[in-house]
Symmetry: C2
Subunit: 266 residues, 2 copies
């Protein structure tokens, strides 16, 4: 979809900013900066803070993502949404005028942004279904699966996931205590193991099975082949999803992490 020339134009519009420590906001709630922010390295999350102090994580973001895409076109509807660093992050900025120029010059870039918005809605719908209708074990397993799949899509190949148990709890809409007990159960089942504080996936296939993880909603053609998913109808749906020739990162319209990082000399 993106031509090399287009990709080059996009990358050259990105200005690298300093690193951000875990827990710090990349984009604060209630602000409307005159630029867009690109995640270059690390993992971030878009979240909302409730009056009682609870944090609801909407989704996690991986390198290549435009963190504040949700503000585009309708900034006033999502002022309460913030973006925080789940791990140490490196970010870049694109000036608003440059972004608009890029969209004007490369219609396919605008389409990619639009598609990205659709993808975010798709992911959010799935999260809604899980949150309301599935037990904790499946919810947590599904979140782990999604993180693993999205890491792969971003070109990161490790069996450990970045979010802490508290992060997972805030994303699943469960208490940290209960997420801990759920992890313990997944450890007991031999699907996960622990390396220090980090959670490591031992049996990806079984985990996906009990999570009912399908992954089609993430629009990552080709990348889910490894998963050998056992969901009924998954393979049938799979064959039909070859529309985009360049694999798109979920919530990412730019490219893979390596492409981004090469361009900024990481």
């Amino acid at each position: 979809m993106n031509s090399d020339e287009e990709l080059g134009a996009i990358l050259s519009a990105i200005h690298v900013r300093a690193g951000i420590r875990r827990g710090v906001d990349i984009i604060a709630a209630g602000t409307s900066p005159r630029h867009s922010t690109v995640l270059l390295d690390g993992v971030a999350c878009s979240y909302e803070r409730l009056p009682d102090g609870a944090r609801q994580i909407h989704s996690f973001q991986y390198p290549g993502a435009i963190c504040d895409l949700h503000r585009h076109l309708l900034p006033e509807t999502s002022l309460e949404v913030a973006v925080g660093a789940v791990t140490k992050c490196t970010i870049g900025v694109i000036h608003q005028e440059d972004l608009e120029q890029l969209i004007a010059n490369y219609p396919s870039f605008g389409l990619a942004l639009w598609r990205d918005a659709m993808l975010e809605a798709s992911t959010c719908r799935k999260a809604l279904v899980r949150a309301t209708r599935q037990p904790a074990l499946r919810r947590v397993a599904h979140i782990v699966c999604e993180q693993l799949a999205r890491q792969e899509a971003a070109g990161i190949d490790t069996p450990t996931i970045s979010p802490s148990q508290m992060d997972v709890a805030d994303a699943a809409g469960l208490s940290a205590v209960h997420v801990n007990r759920t992890f313990k159960e997944l450890l007991r089942l031999g699907l996960l193991s622990k390396q220090g504080r980090a959670v490591k996936v031992v049996n990806k296939r079984k985990l996906a099975s009990i999570a009912h993880f399908n992954g089609t909603y993430l629009n990552m053609p080709g990348l889910l082949r490894h998963w050998q998913l056992e969901i009924a109808g998954a393979s049938a749906l799979h064959e039909r999803s070859g529309a985009t020739s360049r694999p798109l990162n979920p919530t990412t319209c730019l490219c893979t992490r390596s492409e981004v990082q090469r361009s900024i000399g990481l």
Copy 2:
């Protein structure tokens, strides 16, 4: 945003189809028709059917909405999403080629569709937060408030809402039994009353208060003035949301119900 000429072009591309009875699918899961569907009259809902038969409603749709906008650009990610008639509905279709032609001819129409996708994501995020973090009373009250506000936005001015208790249950992610008990509580508090089977809002302001209904996320500038919302910061946010001169229907990019219906002689 939409000029009269543009609106005329859009409306003339719509072909009216026969009415649809309550409970019947407007768009079935797993299908990819070569046209888009516009809701002309009645109330619909986009939903997903789970393996165990449960139904999760993502959102309700009002006249003027493009029912299958979620299929646009990324049809394969939302094949499981269906759209059903909550009340008796009248629909129209726009051929795929006509829709693409309209987007090509009127860039502002494409932008409106894009904005609509962002709005759907915004609504879904809010639904996710409510579903995971709020008690049943607030969830149900919030759904009622949202329906009332969206009816108003579509030009329908009645204090009763269309969805049945079961519909509300499937949208809130609660059991029908518990929604019934929640409604009973709202009746006892004097916020709702009943007309036969229908639920009628008696005290809109108090209902919005206990629901923590803000409404900014719906992007309906001007239309929320009547609500006299009591949420902290709501008025401040309000003043900044005058960007679009023409009030947009939530999940609607066309116009108000009366405009649609006038054009088809309803």
